[in-house]
Amino acid sequence: MGPPSWLYYLFSVAMFAVAAYAVVLLVLSVTFKDSAGRDVDLAHLFMGLSMGGMFETRWAFWPSWFWEATFGILLVWFVTRSAESIYRFGLHIPHEAVHATMSLAMLLMYWFPMGSSPVSMGMSMSSSSHAMLDPGIGLILAFTFAGSAIFTLASPNKGASHHGTHLLRVPIRVVANGGTENERAGATASPTSAHRSWPGVTNVVANPRLEDLSHVVMCLGMAFMLVLML
């Protein structure tokens, strides 16, 4: 007797749900011409689709090189955004760093496919080596994602998983200081873009709590996949 198939099925469905939610947010962001958080939505879309296929091999699609290239690009993008955030706001851990770490984890999952686990078949298309991921790295990443999930849920700044805390706070400063801090801080978004303020859908689809929830689900899925790779 092994692990129940419904467990992988459950995680797969959850990953595809995150991807579907990201698609909705992307469509709305294009519709309302609001680019805030679009990079995170895009990352969640690809990560959700990819991981959904890892957990349920029947739903895996597209070759490994495509996913490796995608997550490589996302990694470079988020590392750049992280550096930019540190340059603007001083030494801190920007939320983009977590997304960069998630992109790195996805890359590692493709570079180091698992051995005997049932979910390994989903990654058997990998063109890379058959070496195993050092479990120490897997454990560090899994704990990082567990921590990110917990701190996201506990944060008073809802939606920060998509938009960070700088942007969320900038509109308050705009009100308080007439916009000068906003410009000095380098935030280019309008006050309404910190939490997406889209007519009719803000409190339903683009709810910051839902955005955070999608991040938490993604973190859980990744942590579980990394534990399976140990």
């Binding site: 007797m1 801190h92 049932p118 120490g136 917990i150 506990a154 801090e181 399976l228």
Partner: protein, 335 residues
Amino acid sequence: LAELDLAMTVTTEDANPSFRGPTKGGHRDAQRIFQLILASIWLLDAVLQLQPFMFTRGSNGFSGMLNGVAAGNPDLVFHTVTWNASVVYNHPILTNTLFALIQFVIGFGIAFKRTLRPALALSVVWSLGVWWFGEGAGGVFLGTATPFGGGPGGVLFYALLAVLLWPRKGSDRPFVAARFVGESAAKVIWAATWTLLSVLCVVGSGRQPQGLHDLVAGLDNGQPGWLAHIDRASESFFLAHGSVAAVLLGVVCVLAAFSVYASSTFTRFMIVAVVVTFAVIWIAVQNLGGILAGGATDPNSGPLVILLALTYWPVTADDPSRVGLRAARLVPTVR
């Protein structure tokens, strides 16, 4: 930018609406940070509980692991652990799913302020249950509960931390662990804990070179190369100097026990000493709880002891070195 930084942080008011203490005005709530770190460990444990072998019957499965723990224990412990193992054996998927769910509930429960207290209470009950039914009372009755191996049971530290981190309005001074139970009680708990650890260092197989060697040797199967290399060094060291190492660790524990009654400088020194010591033990002896070999459900005592020690870091007014608070400058933005 300083204001911006202030606005970014988890403030005391954010973390605990009832709090109206001296840190009002934007200081980080160190107790809340520690609670969330504890919740993160619970969440990792829940995910580890979902590993494939945990759903498997037989000697390589979860029930087999439990039966292995029972061997050699007194009748009461033996029968309760084997009863638990038989339930798990007969219903591996149901029981393991339930066990994982409970740990998810604890982890996520701590994350939400409204469910924080019930989650911490559940974690105490669950930890004590696991210690008895799952860890065979941590090997205390077998004489194998050396702190090198996680004695008297890593899971007990979850319960201890749940009590010490129980939410209560007030200051983080003189240290975070005193916030709920009070300074005197917290010091007694600390002294008792480290005195117990010091005793466990020098009783039973904990002071025998061969016993300590076997402790590491029993864990190195399936470990990654770098950790196996460390294990071999640890095994050789214990064979040659096991007794001395046990006594030295016992002395460190005794000094730690009484450090809370000494000056804050000495307390800080001892906290750094035990953090470093248990970090080394966690890697070189406990093998990170055996997680890397794919056969563990928790990280063992190392990180919990370190977390416990940090909750006793002396905090003075306007002390820029407040542990946890410096980390808190960074941690809340990790999302």
